[in-house]
């Protein structure tokens, strides 16, 4: 019932926006910007500052919202856009890193502090490095399934792959992380 209500609400918003009501888009932003920012933060390996990427995502939403046919939930559509934008961003980042690798090393953002947090700085950095080092096809299922808490069905739909493929990728991603973070797991 809740899902149906959400879907009807999303359809209404999209319809209102298509008719030129900007407040509908503002409502979409208010409703989903936090989720998108969190997902972006997770997909990019917790960099903290994701404003530029989120701006780009909402720009793509603004441009493409009129073409949205409500075949899936608005949230799934937004997450798909987020994943695509994060891929593009990471790809550009990799290209840029290749060009200015030395500068990048000097300009790497400081590791996230862990003052009063659940994990110390060193452990957090190791986990972060391991997640960032994974290819997108393994990292994205991990983020969607374990961090965003989406179902297998929803995750596979967002990623555009079958559930079996998703399961396989999750399995491989877990193995990879187990290998990378073996010491931390044993502790």
């Amino acid at each position: 019932m809740v899902v149906m209500a959400e879907k009807i609400d999303d359809e209404c918003l999209v319809k209102q926006f298509s008719q030129g009501d900007d407040s509908a888009f503002n409502r979409i932003v208010e409703q989903y910007s936090a989720d998108i920012a969190v997902l972006t933060n997770r997909l990019l390996g917790w960099p903290g500052d994701v404003e530029d990427v989120v701006q780009d995502i909402f720009l793509a939403v603004f441009v493409g919202l009129k073409k949205f046919r409500c075949e899936c939930s608005l949230k799934s559509w937004l997450f798909t856009i987020t994943i695509n934008k994060c891929r593009t961003y990471r790809y550009k980042q990799i290209l840029w890193q290749r060009k200015t690798i030395t500068k990048l090393r000097l300009r790497l953002p400081p590791n996230r502090p862990a003052d009063g947090r659940l994990m110390d700085s060193e452990t957090f950095n190791r986990v972060r490095r391991a997640v960032k080092a994974m290819p997108a096809k393994y990292r994205e299922p991990i983020v969607l399934r374990y961090l965003q808490g989406l179902s297998i069905n929803e995750s596979s739909r967002i990623l555009g792959i079958s559930e079996n493929v998703l399961q396989v990728r999750l399995n491989r991603a877990r193995k990879r992380l187990r290998r990378e973070l073996a010491e931390l797991i044993e502790e």
């Binding site: 933060n41 917790w46 500052d49 404003e51 701006q55 720009l59 996230r112 452990t123 961090l147 187990r178």
Partner: protein
């Protein structure tokens, strides 16, 4: 289970990372950016097409200009070639003329040399006359001195004077005649044989 541990570790890391800074989305900014992007997406191909057209136009213009310059160069070269040909023909004609003149001059020199080598007929005639007069005087001398044909000798002397009056032989003949006359007068004055020349013209 290690899988649970991994998931737990990831979730802990996510919690540690915290929530990202709130993002402020302004719809007017998004609209402006979307418009700019749309403008760029439309303007870029148009600008590229315009640039290509300009480049093609410039290339064509340059090509035409180069072609025109090329044709002008060819025309100039042809004109220069014609001028050179005319000059060469003029020089050739001049050389021919000079050679012809040289040949004419050479021929003229040869003819003049030939002409110079031919003896003067007047002189020759004069020589012949002198020789003839001399021979006649010589004959007359012989007749007078050796053959004692006085009258024949006088006739010959007179003939020499008559025929060749301007020659040396005529002078000699006159001397001989005067000598003969003197001898006759001497003999006349001594009472010897009186000799009078006969058939001698009074002018002698």
């Amino acid at each position: 289970m290690p899988e649970d541990k991994i998931i737990n570790l990831l979730q802990k890391a996510d919690e540690t990372a915290g929530v990202p800074a709130p993002v402020s989305i302004n719809i007017s900014t998004l609209r402006r950016r979307a418009n700019r992007r749309r403008f760029v997406s439309i303007a870029t191909p148009i600008a590229a097409a315009a640039a290509i057209l300009i480049a093609v136009g410039l290339y064509g213009f340059t090509l035409r200009a180069a072609k025109t310059t090329h044709q002008q160069k060819i025309a100039l070269l042809e004109m220069q070639i014609e001028q050179l040909q005319a000059r060469a023909e003029a020089t050739s004609n001049l050389v021919q003329e000079v050679l012809q003149n040289e040949r004419k001059q050479q021929r003229l020199d040869e003819l003049q040399a030939q002409l110079a080598s031919i003896p003067d007929p007047l002189e020759e005639i004069q020589k012949q006359v002198d020789t003839t007069a001399f021979n006649l005087v010589y004959q007359a001398d012989r007749m007078y001195r050796e053959l004692n044909l006085k009258s024949s000798a006088i006739r010959t002397y007179k003939r020499v004077i008559e025929l060749f009056p301007e020659t040396h032989g005529a002078e000699v003949a006159r001397e001989r005649l005067s000598e003969i006359k003197n001898i006759k007068y001497k003999k006349d004055s001594k009472g010897d044989l009186l000799w009078k020349p006969q058939n001698v013209p009074s002018s002698c």
